[in-house]
Amino acid sequence: MKRSIVAIVPWVALVAAWVALWGEVTLASVLGGVVVAVIAVVVSGGPRPGPSHLRPVAALRFLVVVAWSLVKATSLVAWEVITPRNRIVEGIIAVPLPGASPMVQLLVTNAIGLTPGTIVVEVDEDPCVLFVHVLHLHDVERVRAELVELGALAMSAFGAPTDAAVDHDGDPDAEVRA
């Protein structure tokens, strides 16, 4: 049952986007949305496999963590810009996400990219390692631990059971070497 709900999400999103473009919910705009959604899916070669699993509580926690870090990081970068003092310590660090499915990689990369102060520069896929450029890198291991934590959260929310088997409290360095 869960699977069929997940499968319907892209369709609902496409139709909703079309209706939003028209600005009002009418029979014509909804029908038009369905037609456009079918064309879009056919042209793009079908919907990509979405999140194979969805655990609502963990997903909500992931959303809250991302939203909070968004607010926190935005104020931090804004403060950095308007105060004359320069506290920038830049660097590129490796963030391992062992066993992350492509969907989880995408989510974590997007969440990191959305947050000011962190940019994913490069992605190694097998094993999955994100290389993240950080603006305030005062404590390498703390930043790395935070990002690994974010990845673990995404896996527990959207990952397959094998993804979730990763030791969340594990030493990130040990996972790099593994």
Binding site: G23, V77, V81, V89, I92, N110, G113, I119, H133
Partner: protein, 113 residues
């Protein structure tokens, strides 16, 4: 509702202003991406929310929400691709850079079999 909307629009505009200043103040392409790429889209999202709050009830909020959502969803992808292109083309990192584990990893890979 009007006051909430105006505050949102003001906050969003300030955010865009700050990120424009950051564009001039920061040293290298990555730091500038931090300032310019992200804060501007968040700023637009705030302006859109403010406009919706001021316009309710009425038309137009569907388009605004859609624009904000699409911008916030696509922006990280664009920033990532810009950063990757800059790194691969060998753009110099700022002097304030303390560590580059990507370069270390690539050097290890080059040394390996």
């Amino acid at each position: 509702m009007d006051l909430v909307g105006q505050l949102c629009i003001l906050a969003g505009s300030l955010l865009v202003l700050v990120s424009s200043i950051g564009l001039h103040r920061f040293d290298d392409v990555f730091a500038r991406l931090h300032a310019a790429g992200k804060a501007t889209s968040l700023g637009f999202a705030l302006v859109a929310v403010g406009a919706i709050a001021m316009g309710l009830p009425g038309r137009g909020w569907g388009e605004l929400i859609l624009a904000a959502v699409v911008l916030v969803l696509t922006m990280p992808v664009g920033v990532h691709l810009l950063a990757r292109a800059a790194y691969r083309s060998g753009d110099e990192l700022a002097p304030a850079t303390v560590v580059d584990e990507l370069a270390e990893r690539r050097a290890e890979a080059a040394d390996g079999p």
